[in-house]
Amino acid sequence: MTGARGVTSEVLSKQPRKDLIRNTIFASVLLLTVAIALAGLGLLIGKNLVDGWSRLNLDLITQNNSSIAENAGLRNALIGTLWIMAFVILMLVPLGVGAALFLEEYGSRTSRVTRLIEVNIQNLAAVPSIIYGLLGLAFIARAPLDLGYVVLTASMTLTLLVLPVVILASREAIRAVPDSIREGSLALGATKWQTIRRQVLPASIPGIATGVILAISRAIGETAPLIPLGAATYVSFTPGPFTEFTAMPLAVFSWVKQPDPEFQTLAAAGVLVMIAVLVVMNSFAIWLRNRYEQSW
């Protein structure tokens, strides 16, 4: 007697041929879509490598930008980016983590204020980056804050732009800390803030750091929000914290716009430098996530 198992396997082995063929076709189409996406990235990097290879040397980051392609480099733009990012980190980390802590630790799920803030952050994440540039122009560079076209203006604008990224990542990291840790700490007489500072924050630092790194790597590559802020592409002096600013993507953008083929080579090399920075930062974030993330 064959029994139920025999009947089942007989029925299953008689899956209609048409379905099986369709399944194979479907699987190949899916594989093709993945291949196209990966090929897109490969072509993008490959094309710039081929075009920019001849300018990919140390001169690229030791020479200042110039109107003569042979002498142009990223030096001042790189220093400008570093200054901008230094201020971004100073503002981004406390503001992002603070907002996340408030929403996760102090806000109740059902409270109107919490919901309002949540929807707000979701909306802000979808606002086009150039609109942040206009906000920076109309609110920070000019009255009411009236800071002028300086590094701090650029930093504040970029901070607001990537703040939602950090808030979302930090919230997830904080949420992943189990309540039993908090309750244990509170039961020992710690106050709420002591619990957060000594238990919740240390446990969620890897997740928060990952979010911060990804946000910074996005901020480094952003060009559009800096355009309305009066960014200079040629700065003859070494940028400092309170001077006018320039930044890497702006220098690359200025090269992209030049018809001179030597500038095109330079632009390709500049794009490669920016992608390299991105890859290094993302790899670090992934490593951090895998290395320190704990499951409870």
Binding site: L12, Q15, D19, L20, R22, N23, F26, V29, L30, L32, T33, V34, I36, A37, L43, L44, K47, N48, G96, G98, A99, F102, Y106, I117, N120, I121, Q122, N123, A126, V127, P128, S129, I130, I131, G133, L134, L135, L137, A138, R142, L160, T191, K192, G221, T223, A224, I227, P228, L229, G230, A231, P249, V256, A267, A268, V271, I275, L278, N282, I286
Partner: protein, 319 residues
Amino acid sequence: MEASGLAASGHAALPRRLEAPSRRYGEKVVYGLLAACAILSVLTTTAIVISLIVPTIQFFGDVSITDFLFGTDWGPTFTPASFGVLPIVVGTLSVTLWALLFAIPIGLGAAIYLSEYASPRVRKLVKPVLEILAGVPTIAFGYFALIFITPQIQKIWPGHFLGGPPLIFNVLAGGLAIGLMIVPIIASISEDAMSAVPRGLREGAYALGATKAKVATRVVFPAAFSGIVASIILGISRAIGETMVVLIAVGSTPNLTFSPVQSVQAMTSFIGTTATGDIPNGSTTYKTIFAVALLLFLMTLVMNLISVRLVRKYREAYE
């Protein structure tokens, strides 16, 4: 909530005081500071709205709303100036259309592959690469469109088809580059939604004799629909708001055309070329920029509201 809330004097007789020794003002300060951080997001939105609306209201003092919204002639910096916004709205929408035609099939295909077909090893390899793609600076996509995609299009485009031959700056190249840019957004959010579909649903379908393809398209896809829609709408928002790609690869000629191989001006590229730091406050050009930006902001806001509603409507909650 806090220990200090329980504090009441006069229990000195108890052997061990459980209440806090002080009023814990520090705790309240911390609460206030954290609340301020959270409120900043609301302030940012308010600041964006105010900074866009005030110049826009002044703008509509100079130009009538109907001329702006329905006019087909865009040349705010020309003399005589014309303020019909339609050409640049159509420019933005046609770039977005081509981006989506590329990104939706590729992104969803990749999502289904990663969630249903890929082995854990392949997934671990492909996902970080997609994350890199998601982080590539937008200026790199723009440059790629200009130096790689456009020449390919010019090579293979069949003559006068759809308004050809293709120009150096054209809609299709920018659209494809933006499409490549939003593939990872659609893929990763959709994949999350598909992975969240419980195993039991898939196993039920397999038990009924369904093939993998059927499980993916008839069970997992509908069950993850709300997440998929959310991912596509976020992709649309990104495409509408993308500035550098259209600035570099699509050009700045405000033509009212639907041809994919002509040069147009998108709303963001108008803002990007016109809004440089030195424009005088209160000039008509300055106000025009903010009027266009407000329209752009409203478009992404509407997208987001649609997304929130659709997600709520089609959400399937699994425990």
